[in-house]
Symmetry: C2
């Protein structure tokens, strides 16, 4: 089952802490989370769909009667299945933010080994993509670039170099101590 990033984000947030639809919207509005927006027209239909798929369910808090969304066990399984995917070159090339979303929600698994594996695959994919970008700049097409084109590419490359620096800094935080 393939879901949209928004759906994964909703399940992940519901696992982290059951919330109402409105509270979920607020998260997208007030935190720099991926920047899914967050209009009622996107969130509520998405939530309804996730409930229909039995990945989320509505529940009430004990004391108050406030309704909130909670992940079902199927929902957790589906999310986990997504979380343990390693990062592909394609993802890095055209939608890095999704890899970062994945990283953020890896927290719900609370398993440093899986996080570590994720980061390794992220590092690999970023390195490969950078290699491809360098290759492009050397290629015939790359050499034809104007000042603007070259600068735009430099910007992109700098971004990926940043990701690389970041992952090298993040990796040791999840390293398993060798016996």
């Amino acid at each position: 089952m393939k879901l949209t990033p928004l759906s994964y984000a909703l399940i992940g947030l519901a696992i982290a802490e059951p919330r109402s639809g409105y509270a979920l919207r607020k998260v997208f509005e007030t935190t720099p989370l991926g920047s899914y927006s967050s209009s009622p027209g996107s969130i509520y239909p998405a939530l309804a769909k996730l409930v229909a798929l039995d990945l989320l369910k509505k529940s009430s808090t004990l004391d108050s009667n406030k309704m909130q969304f909670e992940a079902t066990s199927t929902g957790r399984a589906i999310l986990k299945n997504w979380l343990i995917q390693s990062v592909s070159l394609d993802t890095v090339a055209s939608e890095v933010e999704i890899a970062l979303l994945q990283f953020a929600f890896l927290e719900t698994l609370d398993d440093p080994i899986i996080t570590y594996a994720f980061l390794v695959s992220f590092e690999q994919a970023v390195s490969q993509h950078l290699k491809n970008l360098y290759t492009f700049t050397q290629s015939a097409d790359g050499q034809k670039l104007s000042t603007h084109g070259r600068l735009a590419m430099e910007n992109g490359i700098a971004g990926y170099e940043g990701h690389l620096t970041w992952v090298k800094h993040a990796l040791p935080m999840f390293a398993t101590p060798t016996k």
Copy 2:
């Protein structure tokens, strides 16, 4: 008239050099351009729409009878109108790639003053956004972040710092010499 980024990209490419629909698709496939894809199902309908709007027109090369798309004067005007927009905080926060697309096609205007103004607004927007991110990390919500959340934010911040470094490097290239 508000167009999609893909449409602006198509017009920009057609201005840089008239091309067939197929050639336009190839650009998206073979260069790291924004990563618009590039399936026939997106390009051809978009081109048809631009022709209907009289922003592009089909033309034939003198010698061969190969058909290609060329920008109309309206098309150039619409693109220019988009290009001279300054970069907003919203754009930077949720769709920086679009600002970079804009930068790339500013080349078609061949006007260092406009490019310079664009870069200044970009720098401003990025600085402001960074300030907001820093503020968030200090806020109550920011302090609540887990290791994963904090790292994901660090990644985002590093990215914007990269943009800032980049723009400071790019700006002087378009500075007008003072008399």
